[in-house]
């Protein structure tokens, strides 16, 4: 019964989304046709759709889409790995946290985009500087999640592990990691969005390939239709990667209270 209700509810939600977006596009189309707006300022939805379809039908999009996706995935994974690693050691070793936290906070609060030119100087205009930017954007939310998660473990669970004579690796892999999952996944959700932003911004600055490059190219050539089609593609990449993490989180956290609130309502 509940599963059926869930499917019905999600169909309803998708329907509402589609309706809302259709109304928006309709207003956009009416505005463009009734007012004399130059195409390079605001192309009609039809032109954007045509550019969008052309990107795929000519196959022009694939190398760019592939490059950006690859950067996002690799950068995200490295960032997650380092975030968990740093988070664990920061949660465990107080002096390390005291020593490095100021630098990390500095790195986190500084607008990363401001660091891109520096990364380009240090790592060149190749893929390395792009990955460095993405990794730097992903690490912090993941690390914070792990630190909070490990800190949230009840004392009695630590006692239990001590009674069972569990070693550090067992404690980490069997208990700390799982207790960190809820916090970790909220970190991952922020992280994946940051990773896409990082990839696009890095591509603006350097290189001749990637979705970010399509945007700057469309802008520079006043091909606003292409520019907006490119934006739509980046939005889709963002949504899809976010949804993958969200679904994974829902699966991993099916035991957790936050996933069962809907049953109460």
């Amino acid at each position: 019964m509940r599963a059926k209700g869930k499917v019905k509810a999600s169909f309803k939600l998708i329907g509402e989304y589609l309706l809302s977006i259709s109304i928006f596009i309709l207003i956009w189309q009416i505005y463009v046709s009734t007012h004399d707006v130059p195409t390079f300022v605001l192309p009609s939805p039809k032109i954007v759709l045509k550019s969008f379809l052309e990107l795929f039908s000519t196959g022009m999009i694939w190398p760019h889409l592939w490059t950006t996706s690859w950067e996002v995935v690799v950068g995200f994974l490295i960032g997650v790995f380092l975030g968990i690693l740093f988070g664990y050691f920061f949660a465990k070793i107080d002096w390390l946290k005291t020593a490095l936290m100021p630098h990390i906070i500095f790195l986190q609060t500084s607008p990363k985009i401001a660091l891109v030119p520096l990364f380009v100087v240090w790592f060149g205009i190749g893929v390395t500087s792009k990955l460095v930017l993405i990794v730097s954007m992903v690490i912090f939310p993941v690390m914070t999640g792990v630190i909070l998660g490990i800190g949230s473990i009840p004392t009695d669970v630590r006692y239990l592990m001590k009674i069972l004579k569990a070693n550090k690796w067992k404690i980490f892999s069997k208990v700390e990691m799982m207790y960190s999952m809820p916090m970790l996944f909220s970190g991952l959700k922020v992280g994946i969005v940051q990773a896409v932003i990082g990839a696009i911004v890095a591509e603006w600055m350097s290189g001749k390939v990637g979705l970010g490059y399509i945007l700057t190219y469309g802008s520079a050539t006043y091909n606003t239709g292409l520019l907006m089609a490119g934006i739509v593609v980046t939005v889709l990449v963002g949504i899809i990667s976010y949804e993958i993490i969200d679904l994974l989180g829902k699966y991993m956290l099916r035991w957790h209270d936050s996933e069962n609130l809907s049953k109460i309502n």
Binding site: D156, V157, Y159, W255, H256, N260
Partner: protein, 249 residues
């Protein structure tokens, strides 16, 4: 057999050093010998250090002074039941009960079967695939008892395990615990603040006094076993309860 000790403490003391105020002596020179297969309760007013004492026996806390001798040597396996069930919320009842086997890497076909027997013993066979959030407080505590028994440690330490349960469930769990104790021949050290619970369960009741935490008196409970709820109605039971109430004061 009955004269063999299972664990002994020698002049066990625990002092908490205060930075600004006087040191707190939680435990002072506790000498206690617990026999194999015995059911011993430790009772006393809150703050008398009974939980600290149990944690030290369990190796969860270090004594300031003194030592503990286990029959099985310093690496003695112990089972511990906490006041809260401390179940892992992502694991099912069976996985929680078998968690020690997973940690100690002693999962075999036999241990799996033993686990099923244990779940049967604590009456949770039907719920073995449920998650902890689907269980009542009493059921959760039964899972944690099964977990403490799963790796067959000879000593079971219990820190007010039924303190958070309602009176009816508590009485029921007491009867169940005695059955489990009789079937498994464990040595049980049981911390409680309920006089009737300690009389009902124990061979001996250790009464502690507060500040500094010391053993006040050890009372032998000579009630016939096996005991069931009707024991509570007997005059002897009432006498023991009255006596304990007086010395705890």
């Amino acid at each position: 057999m009955q004269n063999d000790y299972c664990l002994k403490t020698h002049n066990l003391s625990k002092v908490y050093h205060g930075l600004m105020k006087e040191d707190t002596i939680a435990l002072q020179d506790i000498n206690l010998e617990i026999k194999k297969g015995e059911f011993v309760s430790i009772i006393g007013p809150s703050g008398c250090g009974k939980s600290t004492f149990l944690r030290i026996i369990g190796g969860l806390d270090k004594p300031t002074k003194g030592s503990i001798e286990y029959e099985g040597g310093p690496k003695q396996d112990l089972g511990f039941v906490f006041q809260d069930s401390v179940l892992l919320p992502w694991k099912t009842v069976k996985q929680n009960a078998g968690f020690p086997l997973e940690i100690k890497k002693i999962k075999t076909k036999e241990s799996e079967e033993r686990l099923d027997d244990l779940l049967n013993l604590v009456g949770l066979t039907e719920f073995k695939d449920s998650l902890p959030r689907e269980l009542s407080g009493g059921m959760k505590q039964r899972v944690s008892i099964a977990r403490a028994l799963s790796y067959d440690a000879p000593i079971l330490l219990m820190d007010e395990p039924f303190g958070a349960l309602d009176a009816l469930t508590r009485d029921h769990m007491n009867v169940e615990l005695l059955k489990i104790w009789q079937k498994t021949n464990k040595t049980i050290v049981f911390v409680t603040h309920s006089i009737s619970e300690s009389v009902f369960l124990s061979d001996r009741v250790v009464v502690m006094s507060t500040r500094p935490g010391k053993i006040n008196e050890i009372v032998d409970i000579d009630l016939e076993r096996p005991r069931d709820v009707s024991v509570r109605e007997t005059e002897e039971f009432q006498e023991y309860s009255k006596y304990l109430r007086r010395i705890i004061g």
